[in-house]
Symmetry: C2
Subunit: 234 residues, 2 copies
């Protein structure tokens, strides 16, 4: 008989228990972003398990982008910026079709996020969005790939919803994106920058409807630009 795939997995793994406990501490803020986890040895004692179990638990946290290990130094809780924690899912999406599918999912999410951000954003969050805007422009001037700045802008909006699930979902989706075809076309980048500015203005003005509309236009434009840029590279 061939191997069947069914029946649930058995009892709890120790590593799962450790993973969940650490995840709990991170989500409750007991382990804030930037904080250093206990050393493996300390966790071995603290949880009463072997180092193998601790390391597998940390590996699970890493896969979800929650921590980042630095040899010789320690394991640290990552901030909200996903830039430096690729986790898994970095090499998906070989095809244009997948990229467009991703945009399709991002669209309703980010449109709604823009609307909510326009209603709830604090002054500090407004400034964070503005800062991301500036970074984007600086990247263009310095001829640097503006991908990080672009992500920073969208993340800043997600965080301005004051609902961390928006940012979480966006990070999750962003992880699945591989490097988009980079263009240094000034017109292209200027158009993106202008769209960003309009979104930011609508959020600053606390105009949810306009923020939604501008975000919708921006993402629709991104899709179109992405198609063109990708097809050019063939």
């Amino acid at each position: 008989m061939d191997t069947k795939y069914g029946m649930p997995a058995r009892r709890t793994r120790l590593s799962h228990a450790v993973t969940e406990e650490l995840q709990r501490q991170i989500s409750t803020g007991a382990l804030a972003p930037g904080a250093k986890l206990p050393t493996e040895q300390q966790m071995v004692i603290q949880f009463g398990v072997s180092r193998t179990v601790v390391r597998e638990a940390v590996s699970a946290l890493w896969a979800n982008g929650l921590v980042e290990a630095r040899q010789g130094s320690g394991v640290f809780v990552t901030g909200s910026k996903p830039h430096k924690s690729p986790g898994i899912f970095s090499e998906d999406m070989a095809s244009l079709a997948s990229a467009l599918e991703l945009f399709e999912v991002r669209m309703p999410l980010e449109i709604e996020a823009a609307g909510i951000a326009a209603m709830r954003r604090s002054v500090a969050q407004e400034l964070a969005i503005q800062s991301a805007l500036d970074h984007f422009k600086t990247s263009i001037i310095n001829n640097q790939p503006p991908l990080e700045a672009d992500l920073e802008f969208h993340m800043a909006i997600a965080e301005a919803t004051n609902n961390h699930f928006y940012a979480d979902a966006l990070i999750f989706l962003a992880r699945r994106t591989i490097a988009r075809p980079h263009t240094s076309d000034k017109d292209y980048l200027a158009a993106v920058s202008a769209e960003h500015s309009r979104i930011a203005s609508a959020i600053s003005d606390q105009n949810p409807e306009l923020a939604r509309e501008e975000m919708r236009r921006h993402l629709a434009g991104s899709i179109k630009r992405y198609r063109v840029a990708t097809l050019k590279n063939l």
Copy 2:
């Protein structure tokens, strides 16, 4: 000097490389859902690394819900159903506020998914939705918690979009949900079931606007019911 949090992580970890290779094979379908991964020993030979590395890589895959290990049997690629693969993120959301935030994110996502499903669903997917509907009703009759059947329904719609990112995002968000307050209130469950039916009908009729509207109403109702049920339990 105190411990600083900066500077990117160094060279590649072996476990990361193995994780990415396995992830690639899964995403390309070389390892299809239900398929059994090579045994640890085989992977040790295949990748030329230690068991430690292999196990940490598998742990990372598990954390993202991609695989499920069964002691004595093997490690299997999970299907699209997240039911039996909790991964990490199972004990979040202690508060009502978090639950409502989660609904807020699910709403735009699922409304759009319903609309797209109404446009793209295949006959098989239409039947899968209908099947989930039946499971929900059966659960009610048998006095079983209909949580799984509820998730099955929403997942069936996400899959009917023919855009796997919808299902992925939904699974990701569902992972963060802890057991909602279970009610065996027949009226409550009948109301949910009726709403499900109307959504399913709109999708069957290929009426995107109606599907969106019914999904919006359903989720809004769920939020209201969730509030009431939670407050009752205090």
